[in-house]
Symmetry: C2
Subunit: 107 residues, 2 copies
């Protein structure tokens, strides 16, 4: 129970977006080997849902690889609101990797 309480206060990693060469090929490779669900897919990026987190594939010339963490984007800058109702701010970690502070859509 104390472990459950302690885990509950940790932040949630919403998704990790990794660079790929061919989105369709990556989606096919992962979905044919692992139990995951395609949430979105086009030629420039795709989003796969696993049981606990989401994995995105991006063509880096179109979308930067990044790590998305749920939080309050306004604490880090001027949030951009997206078409799906989410809002986010991108910051750079010490290696220059984009970290997206993401607020989910209000229901």
């Amino acid at each position: 129970m104390s472990e459950l309480r302690s885990r509950a206060v940790l932040d949630t990693l919403d998704h990790v977006a990794v660079s790929v060469r061919d989105v369709a090929e990556s989606v096919k490779w992962y979905t044919s080997r692992f139990k995951c669900r395609v949430i979105y897919q086009d030629a420039t990026w795709a989003l796969l849902e696993f049981g606990n987190v989401r994995l995105a594939f991006v063509i880096p010339e179109q979308h930067p690889p990044h790590i998305a963490i749920l939080g309050d984007p306004a604490a880090y800058g001027e949030p951009q609101t997206h078409r799906d109702g989410t809002s986010s701010v991108y910051i750079k970690d010490p290696d220059g990797t984009d970290v997206e502070i993401l607020a989910l859509a209000k229901k």
Copy 2:
């Protein structure tokens, strides 16, 4: 409830290991901004626990960046057993990224 059932059958992503230049600097940057817990840290790699998944930082010359998914490593090759009781097999995805099929330690 149907959503809960459907999510339960999806595979679990155990951790994602991303390349960094300086493990200590990355650990400091992430832990000072986000609620996460350092599970392991040395000069060559570190493991941070978030609420739903773990994020590893690796010096790529020492440990390859990779994506670790819980599953049966024996279905993919000859499992290597690690000191912590876990066992795993590494395979390559279409971009050459290492994917670790990981079985947790039996309790």
